[in-house]
């Protein structure tokens, strides 16, 4: 590239900051996705055989006709379907997801109450599994084809095949039932009256096993990915250049190779966030963790469709947001992308 065209690149970069560009690109993709989930949400419920009032208001089954008609009118179910869709959209725009008849509260309130325990759990377990996965993957590459590498590869293979609920149950048996070190489940010790740091520690103790359970599976996934990417890089030209400079093996691994391995890892984290939320359903159920996952499960069992659909929408939005962060991080690591 000659000087003048790279000058042009610089000028363009100054006028539109790359972060802004990346965000716009991601949002362009996100809007149809969210729109589609809205449409699917709306029609999915109307596919349920039987009276929609029965579907929305599980408790309405067996209620008298006058009550049902009241609900029907209240929810606009007596309007033509496209008007119903319009009403639905405007309600969503106002963050009104309807009423949860099971919880006797607005859906939004129910969800917001359960949101932060899940976010806490997710951040903690993703953090631990990312750090662990990177460390183990790099270690495997450092000691490639020695017993250390083979042990890491074997352990991650086995962990990768373990059902999350089974890991959870095993951890409970070992740490709660046999060793009596950690609580079996729940968010905090009920009625302990702890505050401040003592309370935080109490929540931490309750969170250890669920976070570990969720984290172990993803630890295996991330370790396998980082190890594979690092192996691909071991014999590449720029790594040889780094070695030729006399850099220590540690610098070569962490400074030159790892950023390349982080790119696919970040992409995977973004893509897998959906399935991570799915894992949360199982784990929160096993550990009675009062988060979104358990709420989803309860809503599914009780056919509380308003809650279920709102969660589906919200988790899609959550995944989109996480992907935006992933895109920004990737673009920051790899500046080649911001040229076009």
């Amino acid at each position: 590239m000659d000087a003048s065209s790279s000058q042009a690149v610089r000028v363009r970069r100054k006028t539109t900051p790359w972060a802004f560009q990346v965000a716009v690109n991601r949002l362009k993709q996100a809007i149809p996705t969210i729109a589609c989930v809205l449409v699917v949400n709306f029609f999915l419920v109307r596919l349920i055989p039987g009276d929609p009032v029965d579907a929305f208001v599980a408790k309405a089954q067996g209620a008298d006709q006058a009550f049902k008609d009241h609900i029907r009118h209240e929810m606009g179910l007596d309007e033509p379907i496209w008007v119903q869709f319009g009403i639905y959209l405007s309600k969503v725009a106002h963050l009104d997801f309807g009423w949860s008849f099971q919880n006797s509260a607005p859906v939004l309130d129910v969800i917001l109450l359960r949101l932060w325990p899940t976010v806490l759990l997710l951040v903690f377990s993703i953090g631990v599994s990312l750090l662990g996965g990177v460390f183990l993957g790099v270690t495997a590459a450092r000691y490639s084809q020695t017993w250390k590498d083979r042990t890491i590869a074997f352990m991650s293979m086995v962990l990768y095949a373990m059902p999350a609920f089974w890991i959870g149950l095993s951890l409970i048996v070992v740490f709660s039932v046999k060793l009596r070190l950690l609580p079996v489940g729940g968010f905090d010790t009920v009625g302990s009256g702890k505050t401040g740091i003592a309370y935080a520690l109490d929540v931490g103790r309750h969170m250890t096993l669920p976070a570990l359970t969720l984290g172990l599976f993803y630890l295996a996934v991330y370790t396998r990915l980082v190890r594979a990417s690092m192996f691909e890089l071991l014999d590449s030209d720029f790594v040889r250049t780094a070695r030729a400079k006399g850099l220590s093996e540690r610098t070569v691994l962490w400074r030159h190779m790892l950023p390349h391995a982080l790119l696919p890892l970040l992409t995977l984290v973004g893509v897998q966030l959906g399935s991570l939320l799915s894992g949360v359903i199982v784990i929160e159920t096993v550990f009675s963790w009062p988060g979104l996952g358990r709420l989803t499960f309860q809503a599914a069992l009780q056919r509380d469709y308003n809650v279920l659909l709102a969660i589906l929408l919200m988790s899609t939005v959550l995944v989109v947001c996480a992907n935006l962060i992933v895109d920004l991080l990737s673009a920051w690591i790899d500046r080649r992308m911001d040229v076009n």
């Binding site: 590239m1 000087a3 790279s6 690149v9 084809q145 071991l234 014999d235 590449s236 030209d237 720029f238 040889r240 250049t241 780094a242 070695r243 030729a244 400079k245 006399g246 850099l247 220590s248 093996e249 610098t251 400074r255 030159h256 950023p259 390349h260 690591i333 790899d334 500046r335 080649r336 040229v339």
Partner: protein, 327 residues
Amino acid sequence: MAVLKVEDLSVQFRTAQGVVRAVDRVSFEIRAGETLAVVGESGSGKSVTALAIMRLLPRHGSTRVSGRVMLGERDLVGLADAEMQRVRGNQISMVFQEPMTSLNPLMRIGEQIEEGIRRHQNVSAAVSRRRAVELLDQVRIADPHRRVDEFPHTLSGGMRQRVMIAMALACEPKLLIADEPTTALDVTVQAQILELLATLRKTMNMSMLLITHDLSIVADTAERTLVMYAGRIVEAAATGEILARPAHPYTRGLLGSLPKPRAAGRSRDRLTEIPGAVPPLHALPAGCSFAERCQRADAVCRTDRPEARTVTHDRLAVCHFAVAEAI
């Protein structure tokens, strides 16, 4: 005085076809301030030799290096890893064949130059940064203050090779190994890079090991030339001697396949090529490795391996019929 002395260097790889001797008892020395060229086709073992000196061969259990590589009093073959790291990029540097892939695409050019400096010299960030800009200027990259903060993808192949050279020279090494530094570049850029290497070698008073498959570029750059074939050195002499009076039939073949500038007017003069190909290294013939392709070959060539013989003072050829002939 010799900067580097290679004695009986051999490299073996264990492959699916069996053990391959990619470099077979190679000995030579590089003198202070000289350029030594190693010429050969691909598969002749010239790059493996360079990587073995730098100890940059892939570290699988299947590679075995024997012999000695003496840098002053020290044998690099047996050196501890940490010691070897102090040598690489500091006393011996290397420039590779593929400028497009040899730079780390995720790091700024300046950082890549500076990290070598800071590894070997105890200097501040400001000093190493100034040095990086200086080096870019030295390898004649325009506007070095701006380039130092750019990522490699903004540079052309020739520019990247200049950056590679700047990186290699950062700590003023005694010896620069250039492994086919111009092969991947356009012809016009090739000449510039070679000229740059020659100039820098002179001003910094280094020695250079220039590895190439192209005999035509050694004339202006190298004082002495080694010719390698199938893992062995087959001829060693002053460059002028080799070009004028090659002693080994293989060298003569290589020269015959080059267009001769002086003969440009004579249209009858056709380029000759060496028939056949380099034999597979896992199945080398019993006698001379080149016998199958040699017009000169005799019964003795197919049974006995030739030893190195002195043709004239200071020149060797590994051939039963080695005689220096003018072509």
